[in-house]
Amino acid sequence: MELRVVDRTDNELRIEIAGENHTFMNVLKGSLLRTDGVAAATYDVNPEQSGGQTEPILSINTEAGVRPLDALEEAARGVSDQMGSLGAEIEAAFAAEP
């Protein structure tokens, strides 16, 4: 996962997340939209053989007083926590089933 900041202001961030695709980006976007202080979040990714920009670019707009990078970190930790508890629940369900 290589990160490259394309554009950054106080409340806006455009960042390229190399090596990822819809699998992770959509989960991350979903988490960002549920994060406090995030006004808008989306990502754009082009097909592999389209040439040009094929790595996903994540765009975040935040409300005043919230740094977009902080929001991104919080959202990523949110995904991590969620996946941690989901994994534990699934393991428990399989363990309970003979």
Partner: protein
């Protein structure tokens, strides 16, 4: 949506399962599905060194068939890119089966022993050594551990009244898994997908249950359904951790 998940089985077989998960967002459900297909690595034969091939097929054609043989994968001891050597010697007449493959590591062997590779006639012989490599479905579809992975919304069925005697007799087909008013979770196969069989003479309403997804996962035998699920969820968690780590700096 909260982080409260509820996981339960609808059906469970050796190589497939139907799992009801509540508390998921559509994005997460799709992330897990995609990760199961493309991001959980399995072993598959990738390079073949032929010693002798006097069968009716070219080396490349035999090689392609070998790649499609699912191999059991002990993920705890191998990393993506690792290889295991397999070999096969067979003289005709007879069929060379996947079960004839000899392996350097007993834990990496064909998931099924009865996959035909090629039929050898009198005097024909196949002998080769092959390297199986651990990689993901993203790299090549032969590395996919899940062969049929998908989900549907759980559907709630409510009885809203009695069907009139002369109401239209058309079937009410639903597919997937329904939740009844008593909280029972029933697969629609049990009543031939027609709600009229389950609720004779009743008028029913069907709606999706928000956040409840029924995953149907079928493995090709290289990994258990549990491993497939857990590894997919872990791969998403690892990526989130990596991103959080990278952003924090």
């Amino acid at each position: 949506m909260t982080d409260q998940f509820d996981v339960s089985f609808v059906t469970r077989e050796e190589r497939s399962a139907r799992l009801l998960i509540r508390g998921l967002t559509p994005a997460t459900a799709n992330g897990v599905r995609r990760a199961m297909i493309a991001d959980v690595p399995t072993f598959s034969i990738d390079t073949v060194r032929f010693v002798e091939n006097s069968s009716v097929m070219f080396d490349e054609m035999v090689g392609l068939r070998l790649g499609l043989v699912p191999l059991t994968t002990p993920l705890e001891d191998y990393e993506v890119g690792d290889t295991v050597t397999l070999a096969l010697q067979k003289t005709g007449p007879g069929v060379a089966y996947s079960g004839d493959l000899e392996t350097a590591d007993d834990r990496v062997q064909p998931a099924d022993d009865d996959i035909p590779i090629i039929e050898l006639k009198e005097g024909q012989r196949l002998e080769f050594e092959a390297d199986a490599v651990l990689d993901t479905g993203k790299e090549h579809a032969k590395h996919q551990g899940g062969v049929a992975v998908g989900y549907r919304h759980l559907q709630r069925v409510r009885v809203v009244g009695d069907r009139q005697e002369f109401d239209d007799p058309e079937p009410q087909i639903v597919r997937g898994v329904i939740e009844t008013e008593d909280g029972d979770v029933v697969h629609t196969d049990e009543f031939d997908n027609d709600l009229r069989n389950r609720y004779p003479g009743k008028e029913v309403a069907v709606e999706d249950v928000p956040g409840a997804f029924v995953f149907h996962v079928e493995s090709d035998g290289s990994l258990s359904v549990e491993e497939l699920f857990v590894r997919a969820v872990d791969s998403l968690r690892d990526r989130a951790d990596e991103l959080a780590e990278a952003v924090a700096i």
